[in-house]
Subunit: 270 residues, 2 copies
């Protein structure tokens, strides 16, 4: 597959990050290729992304090798076994990574959002499916550009190493959850993690009580993430609700009434 340059109207001109040639991809699924609209340093994902430790000229050079791209809800970024041509950093939106058995059973291996890197467990070919849950913007680099950056920017390489370590730890955590936790513990854990990651809850904070947690994914996704059925997910959420630990604003909007309690349940310290 070749990269083919194409003219589009720039959404925002004069960006340093776009110097060095802003190529477009056209023949891909999710073909909403678009120039980056501002400096990488202003990118919503930058602070925690692969490029987090880069700044100034290095960041500009790195940015010139990448480009933003949009995927519609439900759209596929790539499938398992596809040859890995690109890696991605999520700029906005939510992506689910999953793996399937022939008969349709599915395990979601992770949800990726702003700042997260996609392409870690990749050895020439992708090891999972990747789909956009809602509208997703990613920052995309070709594998060769990625390798170039790894060789030339030790800060990128260092950050990648960090991210892989955290990924391994997260996967181990999730193995413990899948193999040994009860449905309540699984749901509680899931909500806690979301609260910590997206609602800025820090466990050491005293008096953390009421937290809004938004779930962009469907109950089916939650079930396939936690190794449960959709019915069990629903029933378990109801159980937590009736216990007063959470409330449901809508199905996707959970209000955690007692984070401390939820956290205890999540860790099996009932």
């Amino acid at each position: 597959m070749a990269l083919n340059a194409e003219n589009t109207t720039a959404q925002n001109g004069g960006s340093v990050a776009n110097e060095g040639g802003c190529q477009r991809f056209n023949s891909m699924p999710g073909n909403g290729a678009q120039p980056k609209t501002n400096y990488c340093s202003a990118c919503a994902a930058h602070k925690t992304a692969l490029c987090a430790k880069l700044s100034g000229e290095e960041l500009a050079e790195f940015g010139a090798l990448s480009q933003h791209k949009t995927f519609a809800p439900g759209q596929t970024l790539f499938n398992e076994f596809d040859e890995a041509r690109y890696y991605y950093t999520v700029v906005s939106g939510d992506v689910r990574l999953s793996r399937m058995l022939d008969d349709g059973r599915r395990q979601i291996t992770g949800f990726k959002s702003k700042g997260d890197f996609i392409g870690l467990g990749t050895d020439g070919h992708f090891s999972s499916d990747a789909e956009a849950i809602n509208e997703v913007v990613v920052c995309q680099f070709t594998v060769s550009n990625m390798n170039h950056s790894l060789e030339n920017f030790s800060a990128v390489q260092g950050r990648l190493m960090e991210m892989m370590q955290h990924e391994v730890i997260a996967l181990q955590d999730h193995m413990l959850l899948l193999g040994r936790k009860t449905p309540v513990e699984k749901i509680a854990n899931f909500l806690c993690e979301r609260a910590k990651k997206y609602a800025g809850v820090h466990p050491e904070d005293e008096m953390v009580q009421e937290v809004d947690v938004f779930l962009p994914m469907s109950r089916t996704d939650v079930a396939d993430f936690l190794g449960l059925t959709i019915e069990t997910v629903s029933r378990t959420i109801t159980k937590l609700r009736k216990a007063g630990v959470i409330e449901l604003e809508t199905a996707q909007h959970v209000v955690v009434k007692d984070f401390e309690e939820l956290s205890m349940i999540a860790d099996g310290e009932v």
Copy 2:
């Protein structure tokens, strides 16, 4: 903790790998520190280890920064949350990595053996417990030596990256197993993986029929690896035995009678 030089009788003199000062560690659990007995290139683990891509002087230099150490069956290499001072390559024997809940529930996140690296999901502190299943010899490096090698030997760094990628893929595979596979599929999968890794079975081989699989770990370990109870493990093995897919020479020695069939079961293609 300081590295303290100490005299011991060399088991084998004149090794290039021992040049540059063969320091000993003394005050650690599993204190059977010992000089490496031969060139790294002759090490049983070398071909697939972190140092696989090194040779000649580089290998010698790398080897000088490491040393072998022996652990008795059941002995702890380290515990979760311990400050990570060392990384390890398994030279011989089997190590289990596990994670526990407060009430004793345990999930084994992996079995490590010859050539495997221990310390991947480590961010300053270890993310799991590590225990020797049988007598284990490891090649141990301090974190700082490891970092030194990563900076100076791109071959080491490249190999580490490969190993992390494979680790992530293996963990994802195992998540699918834990979350979505039935007990029979789990056991079949486990035996297949063992056959492929330790009995040299390559799936593409035609006529692979009878394979010896040795299980150094207990049924409890298998259960905690697969997210089952020990009884279910036992019953499921019995089921496969009665179906003629495997035979039991002893509890630890399984003879796979029909690898093809076992493999199908493992993948849910019943």
